[in-house]
Point group: C2
Chain length 252, copies 2
Protein backbone atom coordinates (compact mmCIF):
# COMPACT_ATOMS: atom_id res chain seq x y z
CA UNK A 1 0.00 0.00 0.00
CA UNK A 2 1.24 3.41 -0.88
CA UNK A 3 1.88 5.81 1.97
CA UNK A 4 -0.48 8.39 0.54
CA UNK A 5 -1.22 10.19 -2.69
CA UNK A 6 -2.02 13.20 -0.52
CA UNK A 7 1.63 13.73 0.35
CA UNK A 8 3.37 16.03 -2.08
CA UNK A 9 7.16 16.29 -2.34
CA UNK A 10 8.07 19.78 -3.56
CA UNK A 11 11.59 20.49 -4.82
CA UNK A 12 12.36 24.18 -5.10
CA UNK A 13 14.81 25.39 -7.79
CA UNK A 14 16.78 22.17 -7.99
CA UNK A 15 19.90 22.86 -9.99
CA UNK A 16 21.05 19.30 -10.78
CA UNK A 17 18.58 17.20 -12.78
CA UNK A 18 20.26 14.04 -11.43
CA UNK A 19 19.05 14.98 -7.97
CA UNK A 20 15.46 15.20 -9.22
CA UNK A 21 15.83 11.64 -10.48
CA UNK A 22 17.33 10.47 -7.15
CA UNK A 23 14.47 12.11 -5.29
CA UNK A 24 11.90 10.33 -7.47
CA UNK A 25 13.59 6.99 -6.89
CA UNK A 26 13.79 7.61 -3.14
CA UNK A 27 10.08 8.50 -3.03
CA UNK A 28 8.99 5.47 -5.01
CA UNK A 29 10.93 3.00 -2.86
CA UNK A 30 8.90 4.25 0.10
CA UNK A 31 5.52 4.49 -1.59
CA UNK A 32 5.32 8.22 -2.31
CA UNK A 33 4.07 9.23 -5.73
CA UNK A 34 3.41 12.98 -6.03
CA UNK A 35 6.34 15.12 -7.13
CA UNK A 36 6.12 18.85 -7.78
CA UNK A 37 9.03 20.88 -9.15
CA UNK A 38 9.20 24.62 -8.60
CA UNK A 39 11.21 26.27 -11.38
CA UNK A 40 13.79 23.51 -11.83
CA UNK A 41 16.95 24.60 -13.66
CA UNK A 42 16.78 21.71 -16.14
CA UNK A 43 13.80 19.43 -16.52
CA UNK A 44 13.06 17.08 -18.17
CA UNK A 45 16.64 15.92 -18.53
CA UNK A 46 18.36 12.63 -19.34
CA UNK A 47 20.25 12.71 -16.01
CA UNK A 48 16.96 12.90 -14.12
CA UNK A 49 15.61 9.93 -16.05
CA UNK A 50 18.72 7.81 -15.62
CA UNK A 51 19.03 8.45 -11.87
CA UNK A 52 15.31 7.78 -11.41
CA UNK A 53 16.09 4.19 -12.44
CA UNK A 54 12.56 2.95 -12.97
CA UNK A 55 10.82 5.71 -11.05
CA UNK A 56 10.41 7.68 -14.25
CA UNK A 57 6.63 7.43 -13.89
CA UNK A 58 6.99 9.94 -11.04
CA UNK A 59 8.96 12.22 -13.36
CA UNK A 60 6.37 11.86 -16.13
CA UNK A 61 3.61 12.79 -13.69
CA UNK A 62 5.56 15.57 -11.96
CA UNK A 63 3.88 18.96 -11.82
CA UNK A 64 6.18 21.81 -12.84
CA UNK A 65 5.20 25.25 -11.53
CA UNK A 66 6.81 28.67 -11.29
CA UNK A 67 6.40 29.46 -7.61
CA UNK A 68 6.19 27.73 -4.26
CA UNK A 69 2.80 29.38 -3.70
CA UNK A 70 1.40 27.54 -6.72
CA UNK A 71 2.90 24.27 -5.55
CA UNK A 72 1.38 24.36 -2.08
CA UNK A 73 -1.87 26.24 -2.84
CA UNK A 74 -4.21 23.35 -1.96
CA UNK A 75 -2.16 21.91 0.91
CA UNK A 76 -3.51 22.25 4.45
CA UNK A 77 -0.18 21.37 6.07
CA UNK A 78 3.19 22.54 4.77
CA UNK A 79 6.49 21.32 6.23
CA UNK A 80 9.78 22.78 5.02
CA UNK A 81 13.24 21.28 5.42
CA UNK A 82 15.58 23.57 7.24
CA UNK A 83 19.03 23.76 8.75
CA UNK A 84 19.13 24.69 12.42
CA UNK A 85 19.51 28.19 13.70
CA UNK A 86 17.13 30.49 11.85
CA UNK A 87 16.97 34.07 13.07
CA UNK A 88 13.32 33.70 14.07
CA UNK A 89 12.88 30.14 15.35
CA UNK A 90 9.96 28.18 13.95
CA UNK A 91 8.16 25.11 15.31
CA UNK A 92 10.72 22.40 14.58
CA UNK A 93 10.31 18.66 14.05
CA UNK A 94 12.81 15.87 13.60
CA UNK A 95 12.14 13.48 10.68
CA UNK A 96 10.36 10.95 12.91
CA UNK A 97 8.10 13.56 14.47
CA UNK A 98 7.48 14.92 10.98
CA UNK A 99 6.24 11.52 9.77
CA UNK A 100 4.08 11.05 12.86
CA UNK A 101 2.40 14.38 12.18
CA UNK A 102 2.19 14.21 8.41
CA UNK A 103 0.90 10.67 7.99
CA UNK A 104 -2.40 10.96 9.90
CA UNK A 105 -3.11 14.40 8.44
CA UNK A 106 -2.53 13.08 4.93
CA UNK A 107 -5.64 10.91 5.34
CA UNK A 108 -7.75 14.06 5.52
CA UNK A 109 -6.05 16.64 3.30
CA UNK A 110 -3.05 17.43 1.17
CA UNK A 111 0.32 17.86 2.82
CA UNK A 112 3.49 19.29 1.27
CA UNK A 113 7.07 18.40 2.18
CA UNK A 114 9.21 21.17 0.75
CA UNK A 115 12.92 20.75 -0.05
CA UNK A 116 15.17 23.68 -0.92
CA UNK A 117 18.05 24.32 -3.29
CA UNK A 118 21.11 22.09 -3.21
CA UNK A 119 23.44 24.83 -1.98
CA UNK A 120 21.23 27.26 -0.10
CA UNK A 121 18.09 25.44 1.00
CA UNK A 122 14.87 27.41 1.31
CA UNK A 123 14.79 31.19 1.64
CA UNK A 124 13.36 32.85 4.75
CA UNK A 125 10.29 33.87 2.71
CA UNK A 126 9.72 30.26 1.69
CA UNK A 127 10.24 28.97 5.22
CA UNK A 128 7.73 31.52 6.50
CA UNK A 129 5.09 29.79 4.35
CA UNK A 130 5.51 26.55 6.32
CA UNK A 131 3.59 25.46 9.41
CA UNK A 132 6.57 23.44 10.60
CA UNK A 133 10.20 23.10 9.79
CA UNK A 134 11.85 19.70 9.77
CA UNK A 135 15.54 19.25 10.45
CA UNK A 136 17.48 16.08 9.67
CA UNK A 137 19.83 15.79 12.65
CA UNK A 138 23.11 15.61 10.78
CA UNK A 139 26.54 16.35 12.22
CA UNK A 140 26.99 20.05 13.00
CA UNK A 141 30.38 20.12 11.27
CA UNK A 142 29.23 18.31 8.12
CA UNK A 143 25.53 18.76 7.88
CA UNK A 144 24.57 18.86 4.25
CA UNK A 145 22.81 15.79 2.94
CA UNK A 146 22.52 15.29 -0.77
CA UNK A 147 19.01 16.30 -1.92
CA UNK A 148 18.05 12.76 -2.90
CA UNK A 149 19.37 11.47 0.44
CA UNK A 150 17.26 14.01 2.34
CA UNK A 151 14.16 12.94 0.39
CA UNK A 152 15.09 9.32 1.16
CA UNK A 153 15.27 9.93 4.91
CA UNK A 154 11.92 11.74 5.17
CA UNK A 155 10.22 9.23 2.84
CA UNK A 156 11.67 6.35 4.84
CA UNK A 157 10.28 7.76 8.08
CA UNK A 158 6.83 8.07 6.47
CA UNK A 159 6.97 4.43 5.42
CA UNK A 160 8.12 3.39 8.90
CA UNK A 161 5.25 5.38 10.43
CA UNK A 162 2.79 3.71 8.09
CA UNK A 163 4.11 0.24 8.88
CA UNK A 164 3.96 1.06 12.60
CA UNK A 165 0.35 2.24 12.20
CA UNK A 166 -0.44 -1.08 10.54
CA UNK A 167 1.43 -2.89 13.29
CA UNK A 168 3.58 -4.32 10.53
CA UNK A 169 6.93 -2.85 11.52
CA UNK A 170 8.41 -5.82 13.28
CA UNK A 171 7.20 -8.58 11.06
CA UNK A 172 7.68 -11.79 13.00
CA UNK A 173 10.57 -13.47 11.27
CA UNK A 174 9.29 -15.86 8.68
CA UNK A 175 11.20 -18.84 9.91
CA UNK A 176 11.19 -22.04 7.94
CA UNK A 177 10.82 -24.41 10.88
CA UNK A 178 9.10 -24.49 14.25
CA UNK A 179 11.05 -23.98 17.43
CA UNK A 180 12.11 -27.16 19.21
CA UNK A 181 10.18 -27.98 22.39
CA UNK A 182 11.79 -28.31 25.82
CA UNK A 183 11.50 -32.09 25.61
CA UNK A 184 13.26 -32.16 22.24
CA UNK A 185 16.04 -29.99 23.65
CA UNK A 186 16.45 -32.24 26.70
CA UNK A 187 16.64 -35.21 24.34
CA UNK A 188 19.43 -33.47 22.48
CA UNK A 189 21.38 -32.44 25.59
CA UNK A 190 21.16 -35.99 26.96
CA UNK A 191 22.39 -37.43 23.66
CA UNK A 192 25.19 -34.83 23.48
CA UNK A 193 26.42 -35.59 26.98
CA UNK A 194 26.38 -39.34 26.24
CA UNK A 195 28.59 -38.82 23.17
CA UNK A 196 30.94 -36.42 24.98
CA UNK A 197 31.48 -39.12 27.62
CA UNK A 198 32.00 -41.80 24.98
CA UNK A 199 34.73 -39.79 23.26
CA UNK A 200 36.30 -38.90 26.58
CA UNK A 201 35.62 -35.14 26.38
CA UNK A 202 33.68 -35.23 29.66
CA UNK A 203 35.07 -37.14 32.63
CA UNK A 204 32.03 -38.56 34.51
CA UNK A 205 33.92 -38.23 37.79
CA UNK A 206 34.66 -34.55 37.16
CA UNK A 207 32.28 -33.17 34.54
CA UNK A 208 33.01 -29.48 35.12
CA UNK A 209 31.02 -26.76 33.40
CA UNK A 210 31.07 -28.07 29.86
CA UNK A 211 27.43 -29.13 29.69
CA UNK A 212 26.24 -25.89 31.30
CA UNK A 213 28.15 -23.83 28.75
CA UNK A 214 26.85 -25.93 25.88
CA UNK A 215 23.28 -25.61 27.19
CA UNK A 216 23.74 -21.84 27.34
CA UNK A 217 25.18 -21.76 23.83
CA UNK A 218 22.26 -23.67 22.30
CA UNK A 219 19.54 -22.05 24.36
CA UNK A 220 20.73 -18.62 23.12
CA UNK A 221 20.04 -19.88 19.62
CA UNK A 222 16.38 -20.87 20.09
CA UNK A 223 17.03 -24.07 18.15
CA UNK A 224 14.35 -25.11 15.68
CA UNK A 225 13.20 -28.68 15.03
CA UNK A 226 15.28 -29.08 11.86
CA UNK A 227 18.42 -27.91 13.65
CA UNK A 228 17.86 -30.37 16.53
CA UNK A 229 17.45 -33.15 13.99
CA UNK A 230 20.69 -32.16 12.25
CA UNK A 231 22.61 -31.97 15.53
CA UNK A 232 21.25 -35.34 16.71
CA UNK A 233 22.06 -36.83 13.33
CA UNK A 234 25.68 -35.74 13.79
CA UNK A 235 25.72 -37.37 17.24
CA UNK A 236 24.24 -40.66 15.97
CA UNK A 237 26.69 -40.79 13.10
CA UNK A 238 29.55 -40.10 15.52
CA UNK A 239 28.41 -43.04 17.66
CA UNK A 240 28.11 -45.29 14.60
CA UNK A 241 31.66 -44.40 13.57
CA UNK A 242 32.93 -45.12 17.05
CA UNK A 243 31.40 -48.64 16.93
CA UNK A 244 32.65 -49.29 13.42
CA UNK A 245 35.68 -47.13 12.66
CA UNK A 246 35.98 -46.20 8.98
CA UNK A 247 38.54 -48.32 7.16
CA UNK A 248 41.78 -46.34 6.94
CA UNK A 249 43.04 -45.80 3.39
CA UNK A 250 45.33 -48.64 2.31
CA UNK A 251 48.98 -47.65 2.23
CA UNK A 252 50.55 -47.86 -1.17
CA UNK B 1 30.21 13.62 18.76
CA UNK B 2 30.77 10.93 16.22
CA UNK B 3 28.55 7.87 16.38
CA UNK B 4 31.49 5.52 16.68
CA UNK B 5 34.78 4.77 15.04
CA UNK B 6 34.04 1.13 15.82
CA UNK B 7 31.31 0.97 13.19
CA UNK B 8 32.61 -0.10 9.81
CA UNK B 9 30.67 0.37 6.58
CA UNK B 10 31.68 -2.32 4.11
CA UNK B 11 30.75 -1.99 0.44
CA UNK B 12 31.15 -5.22 -1.50
CA UNK B 13 32.07 -5.06 -5.20
CA UNK B 14 30.52 -1.66 -5.84
CA UNK B 15 30.43 -1.11 -9.58
CA UNK B 16 29.78 2.65 -9.74
CA UNK B 17 32.45 4.83 -8.15
CA UNK B 18 29.87 7.62 -7.77
CA UNK B 19 27.99 5.42 -5.32
CA UNK B 20 31.10 5.01 -3.19
CA UNK B 21 31.28 8.79 -2.98
CA UNK B 22 27.59 9.07 -2.08
CA UNK B 23 28.03 6.45 0.62
CA UNK B 24 30.98 8.38 2.10
CA UNK B 25 28.95 11.59 2.14
CA UNK B 26 25.95 9.85 3.71
CA UNK B 27 28.19 8.36 6.42
CA UNK B 28 29.89 11.62 7.25
CA UNK B 29 26.62 13.57 7.61
CA UNK B 30 25.66 11.09 10.34
CA UNK B 31 29.03 10.85 12.08
CA UNK B 32 30.35 7.59 10.68
CA UNK B 33 33.96 7.52 9.57
CA UNK B 34 35.21 4.02 8.73
CA UNK B 35 34.74 2.86 5.16
CA UNK B 36 36.00 -0.44 3.79
CA UNK B 37 35.76 -1.41 0.12
CA UNK B 38 35.85 -5.04 -0.94
CA UNK B 39 37.15 -5.34 -4.49
CA UNK B 40 35.55 -2.18 -5.89
CA UNK B 41 35.35 -2.08 -9.68
CA UNK B 42 36.94 1.38 -9.89
CA UNK B 43 38.60 3.14 -6.98
CA UNK B 44 39.93 5.74 -6.47
CA UNK B 45 37.93 7.54 -9.14
CA UNK B 46 37.02 11.15 -9.86
CA UNK B 47 33.28 10.31 -9.68
CA UNK B 48 33.73 9.00 -6.15
CA UNK B 49 35.55 12.15 -5.11
CA UNK B 50 33.04 14.51 -6.67
CA UNK B 51 30.00 12.74 -5.20
CA UNK B 52 31.69 12.60 -1.80
CA UNK B 53 31.44 16.42 -1.78
CA UNK B 54 33.70 17.14 1.14
CA UNK B 55 33.66 13.65 2.63
CA UNK B 56 36.79 12.79 0.66
CA UNK B 57 38.66 12.26 3.92
CA UNK B 58 36.61 9.07 4.30
CA UNK B 59 37.69 8.02 0.81
CA UNK B 60 41.34 8.80 1.56
CA UNK B 61 41.17 6.68 4.71
CA UNK B 62 39.12 3.87 3.16
CA UNK B 63 40.55 0.38 3.47
CA UNK B 64 40.51 -1.56 0.21
CA UNK B 65 40.61 -5.35 0.53
CA UNK B 66 40.08 -8.35 -1.70
CA UNK B 67 37.52 -10.33 0.25
CA UNK B 68 34.68 -9.83 2.70
CA UNK B 69 36.48 -12.13 5.14
CA UNK B 70 39.40 -9.69 5.30
CA UNK B 71 37.03 -6.75 5.77
CA UNK B 72 35.18 -8.21 8.74
CA UNK B 73 38.00 -10.26 10.30
CA UNK B 74 38.19 -8.23 13.54
CA UNK B 75 34.45 -7.48 13.86
CA UNK B 76 32.47 -9.16 16.63
CA UNK B 77 29.10 -8.29 15.10
CA UNK B 78 28.37 -8.40 11.38
CA UNK B 79 25.08 -7.17 9.90
CA UNK B 80 24.37 -7.58 6.19
CA UNK B 81 21.78 -5.74 4.12
CA UNK B 82 19.34 -8.05 2.48
CA UNK B 83 16.17 -8.12 0.46
CA UNK B 84 13.36 -10.17 1.98
CA UNK B 85 12.71 -13.77 1.20
CA UNK B 86 15.95 -15.71 1.38
CA UNK B 87 15.71 -19.46 0.98
CA UNK B 88 16.95 -20.06 4.52
CA UNK B 89 15.58 -17.19 6.68
CA UNK B 90 18.08 -15.43 8.90
CA UNK B 91 17.55 -13.32 12.03
CA UNK B 92 16.16 -10.13 10.49
CA UNK B 93 16.19 -6.54 11.76
CA UNK B 94 14.61 -3.38 10.43
CA UNK B 95 16.93 -0.34 10.25
CA UNK B 96 15.76 1.00 13.62
CA UNK B 97 16.29 -2.33 15.37
CA UNK B 98 19.66 -2.56 13.63
CA UNK B 99 20.76 0.77 15.09
CA UNK B 100 19.48 -0.15 18.55
CA UNK B 101 21.55 -3.31 18.46
CA UNK B 102 24.66 -1.98 16.74
CA UNK B 103 25.14 1.24 18.68
CA UNK B 104 25.60 -0.20 22.20
CA UNK B 105 27.75 -3.07 20.90
CA UNK B 106 29.98 -0.58 19.08
CA UNK B 107 31.10 0.76 22.44
CA UNK B 108 32.71 -2.59 23.19
CA UNK B 109 33.92 -3.98 19.89
CA UNK B 110 34.00 -3.52 16.14
CA UNK B 111 30.80 -3.90 14.17
CA UNK B 112 30.44 -4.19 10.39
CA UNK B 113 27.48 -3.05 8.30
CA UNK B 114 27.83 -4.81 4.96
CA UNK B 115 26.23 -3.54 1.75
CA UNK B 116 26.12 -5.60 -1.44
CA UNK B 117 26.42 -4.94 -5.13
CA UNK B 118 24.18 -2.38 -6.81
CA UNK B 119 22.33 -4.93 -8.90
CA UNK B 120 22.54 -8.16 -6.98
CA UNK B 121 23.18 -7.35 -3.33
CA UNK B 122 25.14 -9.84 -1.24
CA UNK B 123 25.57 -13.50 -2.22
CA UNK B 124 24.22 -16.26 -0.03
CA UNK B 125 27.79 -17.08 1.03
CA UNK B 126 28.32 -13.50 2.12
CA UNK B 127 24.99 -13.34 3.94
CA UNK B 128 25.86 -16.54 5.78
CA UNK B 129 28.83 -14.68 7.33
CA UNK B 130 26.45 -12.23 9.04
CA UNK B 131 24.93 -12.54 12.51
CA UNK B 132 21.91 -10.53 11.40
CA UNK B 133 20.38 -9.35 8.19
CA UNK B 134 18.87 -5.88 8.00
CA UNK B 135 16.09 -5.06 5.57
CA UNK B 136 15.06 -1.53 4.64
CA UNK B 137 11.27 -1.83 4.40
CA UNK B 138 10.81 -0.51 0.89
CA UNK B 139 7.78 -1.09 -1.32
CA UNK B 140 7.53 -4.71 -2.47
CA UNK B 141 6.94 -3.63 -6.08
CA UNK B 142 9.82 -1.14 -6.19
CA UNK B 143 12.23 -2.12 -3.52
CA UNK B 144 15.69 -1.20 -4.67
CA UNK B 145 17.25 1.80 -2.95
CA UNK B 146 20.29 3.40 -4.48
CA UNK B 147 23.42 2.23 -2.61
CA UNK B 148 24.14 5.70 -1.22
CA UNK B 149 20.51 6.04 -0.13
CA UNK B 150 20.66 2.71 1.71
CA UNK B 151 23.84 3.80 3.51
CA UNK B 152 22.07 7.09 4.33
CA UNK B 153 19.09 5.34 5.94
CA UNK B 154 21.14 3.01 8.14
CA UNK B 155 23.56 5.81 9.10
CA UNK B 156 20.64 8.10 9.91
CA UNK B 157 19.12 5.51 12.22
CA UNK B 158 22.45 5.14 14.03
CA UNK B 159 22.60 8.89 14.55
CA UNK B 160 18.99 8.95 15.77
CA UNK B 161 19.78 6.12 18.19
CA UNK B 162 22.78 8.00 19.49
CA UNK B 163 20.80 11.21 19.96
CA UNK B 164 18.08 9.23 21.73
CA UNK B 165 20.70 7.66 24.02
CA UNK B 166 21.92 11.16 24.87
CA UNK B 167 18.33 12.27 25.38
CA UNK B 168 19.04 14.86 22.68
CA UNK B 169 16.55 13.75 20.07
CA UNK B 170 13.77 16.20 20.76
CA UNK B 171 15.77 19.29 21.43
CA UNK B 172 13.39 21.73 23.11
CA UNK B 173 12.77 24.36 20.50
CA UNK B 174 15.16 27.19 20.96
CA UNK B 175 12.56 29.90 21.04
CA UNK B 176 13.64 33.53 21.06
CA UNK B 177 11.11 34.78 23.60
CA UNK B 178 9.40 33.52 26.73
CA UNK B 179 5.81 32.38 26.65
CA UNK B 180 3.26 34.97 27.75
CA UNK B 181 1.71 34.42 31.17
CA UNK B 182 -2.01 33.91 31.75
CA UNK B 183 -2.30 37.49 33.07
CA UNK B 184 -0.64 38.89 29.94
CA UNK B 185 -3.02 36.88 27.78
CA UNK B 186 -6.05 38.10 29.74
CA UNK B 187 -4.77 41.66 29.30
CA UNK B 188 -4.62 41.06 25.56
CA UNK B 189 -8.07 39.46 25.30
CA UNK B 190 -9.61 42.35 27.31
CA UNK B 191 -7.91 44.89 25.08
CA UNK B 192 -8.97 43.01 21.93
CA UNK B 193 -12.61 42.82 23.02
CA UNK B 194 -12.59 46.55 23.84
CA UNK B 195 -11.35 47.42 20.33
CA UNK B 196 -13.76 44.99 18.63
CA UNK B 197 -16.62 46.79 20.42
CA UNK B 198 -15.25 50.20 19.48
CA UNK B 199 -15.12 49.32 15.79
CA UNK B 200 -18.55 47.71 15.99
CA UNK B 201 -17.38 44.16 15.22
CA UNK B 202 -18.90 42.89 18.48
CA UNK B 203 -22.39 43.97 19.50
CA UNK B 204 -22.32 44.16 23.34
CA UNK B 205 -26.01 43.18 23.40
CA UNK B 206 -25.34 40.06 21.36
CA UNK B 207 -21.64 39.21 21.45
CA UNK B 208 -21.97 35.68 20.01
CA UNK B 209 -18.96 33.34 19.84
CA UNK B 210 -16.38 35.69 18.41
CA UNK B 211 -14.30 36.10 21.55
CA UNK B 212 -14.37 32.38 22.29
CA UNK B 213 -13.13 31.56 18.81
CA UNK B 214 -10.40 34.20 19.02
CA UNK B 215 -9.32 32.88 22.43
CA UNK B 216 -9.11 29.39 20.98
CA UNK B 217 -7.13 30.66 18.01
CA UNK B 218 -4.52 32.43 20.12
CA UNK B 219 -4.33 29.82 22.86
CA UNK B 220 -3.48 27.22 20.20
CA UNK B 221 -0.49 29.37 19.33
CA UNK B 222 1.09 29.53 22.81
CA UNK B 223 1.75 33.26 22.30
CA UNK B 224 5.10 34.54 23.49
CA UNK B 225 5.72 37.90 25.18
CA UNK B 226 6.97 39.62 22.01
CA UNK B 227 3.91 38.46 20.08
CA UNK B 228 1.55 39.76 22.77
CA UNK B 229 3.36 43.10 22.66
CA UNK B 230 3.02 43.28 18.87
CA UNK B 231 -0.67 42.39 18.97
CA UNK B 232 -1.38 44.95 21.73
CA UNK B 233 0.61 47.55 19.80
CA UNK B 234 -1.68 46.99 16.82
CA UNK B 235 -4.71 47.43 19.09
CA UNK B 236 -3.37 50.65 20.64
CA UNK B 237 -2.53 52.08 17.24
CA UNK B 238 -6.01 51.18 16.00
CA UNK B 239 -7.52 53.05 18.97
CA UNK B 240 -5.28 56.06 18.33
CA UNK B 241 -6.36 56.16 14.69
CA UNK B 242 -10.02 55.97 15.74
CA UNK B 243 -9.61 59.03 18.01
CA UNK B 244 -7.64 60.96 15.42
CA UNK B 245 -8.44 59.71 11.93
CA UNK B 246 -5.55 60.08 9.54
CA UNK B 247 -5.93 63.14 7.31
CA UNK B 248 -7.28 61.99 3.95
CA UNK B 249 -5.06 62.91 1.03
CA UNK B 250 -5.99 66.38 -0.33
CA UNK B 251 -7.83 66.22 -3.62
CA UNK B 252 -6.02 67.83 -6.47
Amino acid sequence: MRVSDNILVVLVNSSHPGNIGSAARAMKTMGLSQLCLVAPDQFPHEYATSRAAGADDLLDNARVVDTLDEAIADCALVVGTSARGRKIPWPLLNPRECAERVLPESRRHKVALVFGREERGLTNDELARCHYHVHIPSMPDYSSLNLGAAVQVLSYELRMAQLAAQDALSVPNEWDAEYATAAELEGYYGHLEEVLRQIGFIDPANPGQVMTRLRRLYSRQRLDKIEVNILRGVLSETQRSLRQPPTPPTEE
